[in-house]
Amino acid sequence: MTFNAVGQKIPKKDAPLKVTGQALYIDDLELPGMLYGKILFSKYPHARILNIDTSKAERLPGVKAVVTAKDFPPNFRIGFMKDNPPLKGNKVLSTRDEIAAVCAISPEIAEEACELIDVDYEVLPGVFDPITAMREDAPILHEELGSNVLKLPWKLVCGDVEKGKSESKYIVEDTFTTQWVTHCCMATSGCIAHFDINNNLTLYSNTQIPSLAQNDFLEALNALGLKNRRVRIIQVTIGGAFGSKLDTYPYEYIAILLALKTRKPVKIVFSRDEEFFATSPRQCTITKISQGCTKEGKLTFREVEMILDNGAYTSWGATTPSVMMMPISSLYRVPNVKYEAKCVYTNNTYCQAMRGYGNPQATFAIESSLDHLAEVSGIDPYDLRMINANQPGEITPQGFKITTCGLKECLEEVAKRLNWREKRGKGGGKRGVGMASLIHVGGGARVYKSDGCGTIIKMDDFGKVDVFTGATDIGQGADTVIAQIVAEELGIPVEDVNVIHNDTDVCPWDVGVHASRTTFVAGNSALYAARKIKARLTEIVSKILEIPQEDVEIRNGIAFSKSDPQKSIPVARAIRRAHFTTGGSMLMAEHFYDPNNENLGKDFKGNLSTAYTYGTHGVEVEVDTETGKVKILKYVAAHDIGRAINPLLLEGQIEGGALMGIGFALSERLIYQNGYLKNGNFLDYKILTVRDAVPVETVIIETDEKEGPYGAKGIGEPGLVPSAPAIANAIYDAIGVRIKDLPITPEKILKALKEKAGTGNKA
């Protein structure tokens, strides 16, 4: 199959605006009469609020409103478990708890006013790790719940793990831990809330979930007594998301409240300090895993127990175990699987979605453990993976219907490019190679009642197309990919397709930009809408050219007869003919695409996604055994993506994902001590710089997914999923020590090396 627009390295549509500084992010936006909001956060991680005195702040000239919990309805709560009041009136449960907020005519005055608010606290003992939080004598955060363990019983049982154990020749068991890491979007969070004269709300936002956010805020308006109002979400240019904007947050409700009080637009934009401590990181995990295999290396079982630090409140992030189940049950063929996870309240920051949504933590454990199993069984780790690799057509124990699967090809490419057979185990105590693979949803993920996305298309008199999509562009290039798909289907140039994706007043519903679903779901939605337009268009052309409709082909904006190409007409002219006639018509179409995937059942089984994506990363490292520093010499990232709609953007997702994964593996961690964040700045929280960047060698495996738009599957998240275990495995190959706790710092390596030298034992 040959394509015109699909498969091309087409630059991102909004890049010209971004390279000239014309793209407007939330902090760039100013509305007439706009006020600036600022939030007062808690001084303590756990305390009773005895009194809040806002009188001094209210008297400060320039202050227009001061709000506290009293200004929200008494039982108003937000979040996945509805456990989070946007402003806290009785108790604070973490140092990011919002106590009061002000808005003023300038950010400086708002900040000063916050400092004038006096809060009396009765400090309570805090609990800062999930293990302690589960003890009988631990302080209970949400007293009404009676326990710190969330009532979200994640449990998946497939086959019979005990039987699997009895069939095993080799069994390994390890415990792995992962840290808090945070998105570090280069633009900080923020919004502007504004009510019109009819009490309808417009929120300028950088949300990843415009439709769900609209729903959340409608609930808030209802709670505030504004029944039957409208909420319009206008998305500004989003300066990075990575999952961070996959929920609605207290600051947004606070901005709405302040706007309602003042009848003025109110902007709240976080400072970088606030962005670090008051947004929600990836959850840290403790994972006990055991796996076994037969003498021949066939996996027999996998058993995983996990504890997640939920933090003080519950966001969508508490559902990450539903995604962790995916690699646990379905990465490689393993017949017997058992998984249990507990999310536990602590007085730490509450966690949320971040690129990969639990998958990186789970895959770190699975793939590290798999290398351990390879060692114990005496089978090369690459061979062990090949023996157990998933295959097209299989149904996994969790009920995933694997359609396309390029895992073996990914493994082979990585082994070849790393020169695996020559290098493995031959690094002279300093160098080593390692690999790790991933499975991820690649055809949507039914985590909500609908996994759909709507598209409306219209074609104007000049043959140009406007596509109104529910999809959200967070920098990944959804705008461009959708334009390519529509251009391909309609046979017009990509530049003739305009994608509008930022306004709930004109764009249809979409569940959100998550689960690497946009190319697949929004792409299909756009494709089918374009197909409807195309049917109308070819009908018009067939009448004008007096040829059968099946004989019409459109290429580069010209419609012609396939059998007699001399018969042709520019698309624009055909459209005008149809328009400017008595009883004329114009070309408009819509489509709502909801993939045929399934919500997981009560047993957490079901075909979560319409297609699954695979990949393998391979790494060669060099370890400085005197300092413990790790240098990455080579990095290969092979991904089965179905079809590369736009290889340029695709590489960008993989390269960026990989470096984020390397940071997760080696350098990034939020340091919380007794509930206080200690390294909330770019000097001490080490996202990687260009000096640390690794020349990622991207290998694209095209398996042509039948259900995907032009064969494509998703790729937004996979790029960072296997980085950490691939690196950990390479380090083990180099120096014979296995670090089971992320990030793999020089300290941990040196300590492990010393222990190894001291005892003479392997890790």
Binding site: T627, S667, K686, T689, R691, T745
Partner: protein, 314 residues
């Protein structure tokens, strides 16, 4: 940011008299520390007196050593060929400080007067026996840099005084120096530990140094030390981040100075340096690890210094 007034004197005298006449004043050079401190509410001066537009603070004099004005920015200092050639430890530090944007405004005087234990130029100036030239009401005085650092953020000068320049002596050609900054990432980072060293060999060893180079090459250095009895005439070792101030590890120096450099003396020097260090556990690094790194970095800077000394003689 809290409000302050900002003054731009054109001469030292004007700066000093401004300082004397203004309440709660502070000098500012590149501002990459001062402004960050104000933004982070760690300090709140009412007046900032800029030293950026005083020409006499930007001198470079190249006779009998090197004199560099305190308000030269790092990026300008990097262009001074003499620093790259004869004061390599300083050159190393200049390349490693902050980012290009920071090096384009941050001055060496500011880096020294801010006196962070991790200040990148501090250890090099310590091993290069720099003299700090200070201007004040009573005129100009000189302080050896080793006496200048008193503690974190505190230096041996009156608040009204201005550091005008640093004077570096000229060293014999058979001298090498180096600075290594140990960080978690490769740019935009503060040192977890840093070390600088300088080794000056005896004049009579020059031919030996040349032989060394022609016979084996510097890559084999540590293994070959025993075959080449190189006499260390002067040794300097300075450590950063492992004490309240950047300091010279003098016991370590004495393991080498006046002795032949070999595996044993080198190891002793590294052990001593680690003993002299008083690292702490902080979020930026653990004490035990920092102490270990003192050994490693001391060794590496010394070997790099030796390598450079040898190359100078070739």
């Amino acid at each position: 940011m809290k409000k302050f007034d900002y003054h731009i004197p054109k001469s030292l005298e004007e700066a000093l008299s401004l300082f004397k006449s203004l309440e709660n004043a502070k000098y500012i050079a590149g501002g990459t520390d001062v402004l960050v401190n104000i933004k982070r509410k760690k300090e709140s001066p009412s007046h900032l007196i800029s030293l950026r537009n005083i020409d006499s603070l930007k001198v470079v004099e190249k006779k009998d050593g090197l004199k560099i004005g305190s308000c030269l920015i790092h990026q300008e200092l990097l262009k001074i060929e003499e620093i790259r050639t004869y004061y390599s430890a300083l050159y190393d530090a200049l390349t490693k400080l902050g980012s290009k944007q920071i090096r384009n405004v941050a001055t060496i005087g500011g880096n020294i007067c801010n006196a962070a234990p991790s200040a990148d130029t501090a250890c090099p100036l310590l091993v290069l026996d720099a003299q700090v030239v200070i201007f004040g009401e009573k005129g100009t005085r000189m302080v050896p840099i080793d006496d200048f650092f008193e503690g974190p953020g505190t230096v041996a000068k009156e608040e009204s005084e201005i550091v005008t320049s640093f004077e570096l002596p000229s060293f014999p050609k058979y001298t090498g120096s180096a600075y290594i900054k140990h960080t978690r990432r490769e740019a935009m980072d503060l040192a977890m530990v840093s070390a600088a060293s300088r080794i000056t060999f005896a004049a009579e060893d020059q031919s030996l140094l040349r032989d060394f180079l022609s016979s084996k090459g510097v890559e084999e250095l540590d293994k070959e030390l025993k075959n080449y009895p190189l006499f260390v005439k002067e040794a300097r070792i300075a450590l950063g981040v492992v004490a309240p101030r950047p300091f010279r590890a003098k016991k370590a120096e004495s393991c080498l100075e006046g002795k032949f450099l070999n595996e044993e003396t080198l190891r002793e020097a590294c052990e001593k340096a680690a003993e002299e260090a008083q690292p702490r556990d902080t979020i930026r690094g653990e004490a035990w690890y920092r102490r270990e790194m003192v050994k490693v970095l001391t060794k590496r800077t010394i070997l790099l210094s030796v390598k450079r000394a040898i190359e100078m003689c070739s």
